[in-house]
Symmetry: C2
């Protein structure tokens, strides 16, 4: 019987991925739905657009339908008469009719499925839960299209549900505090791509961001005044709940504890004064796992804090404890011997198991980074996999190991968006990949989380580091493994990206704010032209050793205006690749377009009133313009001389060197092009 | 003796305004300080920049100095070593040394003066209160200049204090709710131009925006879920206090009461069902001033609410009550007879006097719009003057009348920024003007408030309606009457305006967000070219009778991307005026530049994928391009024919007509130019 079902699923799956290939071009949906079939109908939107729901008292539905109407009106400029949804019974002729069975619970594996049907006459949305309705409404908004005279929803029948039940975004509010408004707009954006877990990294060496009434020194002494009071936490949790998003708090212990020990040094492992950390990296201050007061402290704190977070899971961090302060403390060494704890890892397991029991009292399952997966750790714990890239994901890493050992597990390795890599890197990493797992093992792979560590981001820039890449990651978590066409992902992502502005996401607009700041309100077009081909240094090279930037260093620099996936670089890469294959006149013209763009924009740049900031950009920009000029001449004249070749090589060497914490991401293509032209 | 002082003040004043004229070009200060003298020194900023304060425990100072360091670092890109100010005793060699005498109280007439001295070696800032320090720090940031190799504070000696003690901005959060984040960024911006009163218009027909635990139906039934809970209110008040800004709440009664009566109809004047109002205008629902329960309700409500707002003043609105529901209620008519209240105005005075007593119990002075100024009103009330333009401000209006009658009074007539007029209109209105007042009367003119009524603004657009114009109004309230050079104001305002982005003000960046939305993420440059010469319809003509727009109508339209003082229109006006005076080749070239800009941008616009929104803009834009083309030909060929003249007249007639709720603000200049060219 199971095999039969598997066979049917396989056939359905194949058909479905086939139809996707045809439909990918028709719809800008992200995440791509499980099943979609096109009809050649469309539902036209006018002032009479209306929504009816079978239960309008449901808060999630009331909020979601009202917001839907505002967004629809905002995008189309249509003055929709009805500002709010009504009960189905009152209006059977509504444009959009919504039916659902029950209120969803924000728990693992809650039903998020929905069926959406768009025809000429009506749109219907059916779901088991209100959360399913929310997911479907986002899909419907993505079906909005227009022609010269009309806005309409493209006709389709969509039957959708997620592949993984845990689809998260982690935001670190410790390294740089993120105000409530930042979190709210990101929760809106998360909901728009069907993410359902907000992992709130609330404490670290650089700050303790929660008001504690039991241990008030935590927020008073260890936050620089930048923390959430308990009402604000409730507000965020409620805001997330309305959007079908679970909130998992993280209190990172026993390491990453500089802030906690700034406030309460008495539970530290070393008799020393801690201060709020201003740099980035791994630091020594660690809670003392041999001190009863430590557990008393954590018990009281968790007793106070856990009711603020209704979710079943509670993240205790547990990562990157190098145990230096444990090693240097004779009492701790004695304790280890007395309790037959051979390694610091054993000691940390001792600590984790005690925590697991404390959390159990407050009806919470413990979750932690993969260091917590030690032999004695109960399998009730959830393993959050972040390491393992060195071992190669193909071998499974800690995620697969955890699932095989019986732990539930969530993948973040591969989704570290703070590494500033291309979206392609993340998009192509599948939590399970080709690893063979039993059904039971598979079901323990809950999903994944993109992680936004905030050493190098502030409220000004955080959105441009999260978005739009996280939309593609959200698709990885929601959609079938076979949905993995990179070109098509880019195409859809472009639309999804700018629609995020509707929700207040600042990734596009704040780029210009930074450039206006840098240029002192002069014409930014020349800086913009450069920004389109530069990317911030990747994989932690921007802040080597964590000491170049402090938490209060400026993040208003040219590098902060640059993002992963620099748009002109992507286009130029294609153009060069085409030209190298076939140097037609058209392909040559494409190349010339960009060379001219950089030449003329450098001319503009030169005319700006210079400043210390602009001065640092001048030489690299000039080198790019010079190189472009030589390449242009060679392209046009079809001849090159040795002097030019020499100059090209010199310039390329210079352009390979990062400047103001960015790399000229077109360097490789310029090199290839140069080699072709002077060979 | 008094005459002698007046004479000295006159002489000092004259010198000071004389020196301003010279210095206006040197500094981009706004508001302009009371006294400033230039020295040819400058304080250069580097990584070692530091701040020392005589009392670092003071919260306002701690917040302000930290924020100062972040902003300085953010603007310059300099990695300043010290992230926080220190005690003076610990560092006598700090770059900036701050001394103040005492913590300021947020009360009328508190000392806000400061003395700021910038030399090559050090910057010193001295003030009586911490509030004075805050004001001075904003001035210092405005002294930041740069050359190719350095950032520095321009040398100066500034002795500054405000002309008026009440310098406010009112934000209406009833017509369109404004989230906490909107208020916070606007409070930051207010502080940056030394405004010190945030008037919070919290209730109106369209919503009651405050959580009440005593009368919970107010926020539950009369806010659409969009209200501030009491913790949020405390948060805003604390946020404002840190910035030296008083918060005056307004609960508008007895009119503007649709929302209150939606929740508690039993205290209404008519036995009818009220609902939250969706349109704009003046509505009939009014509290019943003859019902004891009304006073019981207001007493309980104010008892609950007043502790949230520590300020001495409490605004009860009191405006625009036409009394229709009073007229139609026989019991109310009987009550009037029984109490010898001849008119509805008398009845409202009866109501106001009762309110004044209730508020007194809670240690609050009553403030209200000028309708409350009736014969029996106690002079403890503050009159907020909003009417009177018809009578002509030169005759004084209600402000002068109030001051003469012994009331304290605040001016908003002339500062209605929601009318979308040019900043010049507001800038040139002086609260006292040339009216002769005694010193006592003068001292009762407390100052003024810009009023941001929110019928036509949402969080997306509100900043672009408040800023930058309110910075110029702030100067009117702070600076001497003689500081009134419009051209120089524009010059300084341009710098001040873009610096507001640092504080999160969205007036520039959200323009592009709207244009991207309208164009469906196509190239916005052609829309931007049009935006630069269009302004939203003014003086309430955009929403005639209050019925074109509902509260949930779209405010994401082209008109919402347009602002008062369209920048290219201002420039074109100058250019045409120059050309009409003298048709030199240079002046002709200037004209041609703009004509070509509009011609070429319309060509770009035409190539966009059209949509219903873009289609509405097409014809007017085409007409502008056609007219520009004809004028260009005439300018170049220096000849015109009758066919061209006819065409010009037809096109001008069409361009005079508003489209998509904007007017082509260059129309008059196009007309003048045309007349000149074809005469």
């Amino acid at each position: 019987m199971k095999k039969l079902i598997a066979l049917i699923l396989f056939i359905v799956g194949s058909q479905h991925s086939f139809s996707q290939n045809n439909l990918f071009e028709s719809y800008n949906l992200m995440p791509w739905p499980k099943e979609i079939s096109k009809n050649n109908q469309k539902f036209i939107i006018n002032e009479k657009f209306s929504i009816a729901v079978n239960d309008i008292e449901n808060k999630r539905i009331a909020e979601a339908t009202t917001s839907f109407l505002r967004r629809l009106s905002g995008r189309t400029g249509i003055f929709i008469d009805n500002g709010f949804a009504v009960e189905v019974s009152k209006n059977n002729y509504s444009s959009l009719v919504i039916n659902f069975e029950r209120q969803g619970k924000l728990k693992l594996n809650e039903d998020e499925s929905y069926i959406l049907k768009v025809t000429n006459n009506q749109v219907s949305l059916n779901a088991v839960t209100d959360i399913g309705v929310i997911r479907g409404l986002e899909t419907l908004l993505q079906l909005l299209e227009f022609n010269e005279t009309q806005y309409f929803f493209s006709g389709a029948l969509i039957k959708d549900s997620p592949r993984f039940p845990w689809r998260g975004l982690m935001i670190d509010v410790a390294r740089h505090f993120q105000p409530i408004a930042v979190l709210k707009r990101n929760l809106d954006a998360m909901a728009s791509v069907k993410l359902n877990v907000f992992h709130w990294h609330l404490t670290d060496d650089q700050g303790f961001r929660v008001e504690s009434k039991v241990y008030p020194k935590l927020h008073q002494l260890a936050s620089d005044g930048q923390y959430y009071n308990q009402e604000q936490i409730k507000d965020i949790v409620a805001y997330a709940q309305l959007r079908g998003i679970r909130v998992i708090p993280e209190f990172d212990v026993p390491g990453h504890a500089s802030a906690i020990l700034t406030a309460y040094p008495e539970i530290g492992s070393k008799d020393t004064i801690s201060t709020i950390e201003r740099y980035a990296g791994v630091f020594d201050p660690t809670l003392d796992p041999t001190n009863d007061k430590t557990y008393e402290f954590l018990d009281n704190l968790f007793k106070e804090i856990t009711p603020l977070f209704p979710d079943d899971y509670f993240h205790i961090g547990g990562d990157e404890n190098e145990g230096k302060h444990w090693n240097s403390n004779p009492k701790i060494q004695e304790f280890k011997k007395a309790h037959a704890l051979k390694t610091n890892h054993d000691l940390q397991t001792y600590f984790n198991i005690k925590l697991e029991k404390i959390l159990k009292k407050y009806h919470k399952h413990l979750m932690g980074w993969d260091e917590i997966m030690t032999p004695n750790m109960p399998i009730t714990a959830v393993i959050h996999s972040w390491r393992g890239e060195n071992e190669g994901l193909s071998k499974g890493g800690s995620l697969i190991e955890a699932a095989k050992k019986g732990y539930k597990t969530v993948l973040s390795n591969g989704y570290y968006i703070d590494r500033m890599q291309s979206v392609t890197n993340h998009y192509l990493i599948d939590p399970i990949g080709d690893v063979k797992l039993t059904e039971a093992e598979k079901s323990r792979v809950l999903g994944g989380e993109a992680t936004m560590w905030s050493e190098l981001v502030t409220p000004l820039t955080i959105d441009s580091r999260i978005w739009p890449r996280t939309a593609a990651i959200a698709e990885r978590f929601w959609s079938a493994k076979e949905v993995n066409d990179v070109d098509n992902m880019y195409k859809r992502l472009e639309t999804i990206s700018y629609k995020l502005e509707e929700l207040g996401i600042t990734h596009i607009k704040n780029r210009d704010v930074i450039l206006r700041n840098i240029s002192n309100n002069q014409d930014i077009s020349s800086l913009l032209a450069l920004q389109q081909i530069c990317e911030p240094l990747k994989i932690y090279t921007r802040n080597k050793g964590g000491t170049e930037y402090k938490s209060y260093s400026p993040f208003t620099l040219f590098a902060d205006a640059c993002t992963a996936d620099a748009p002109d670089a992507i286009k130029f890469n294609k153009i060069v690749s085409n030209f190298l294959k076939d140097s037609t006149i058209d392909n040559k013209e494409d190349i010339l377009y960009y060379l001219n763009k950089w030449i003329s924009n450098y001319e503009k740049f030169e005319k700006l009133n210079s400043s210390p900031i602009l001065k640092k950009i001048n030489i690299p920009y000039k080198n790019l313009a010079s190189l472009s000029d030589i390449l242009k001449n060679i392209l046009i004249t079809k001849t090159s001389n040795s002097k030019q070749c020499q100059k090209i090589n010199t310039l390329l060497k210079k352009l390979q060197v990062p400047f103001v914490d960015v790399e000229l991401i077109i360097y490789n293509d310029l090199k290839k092009l140069s080699e072709q032209l002077i060979k």
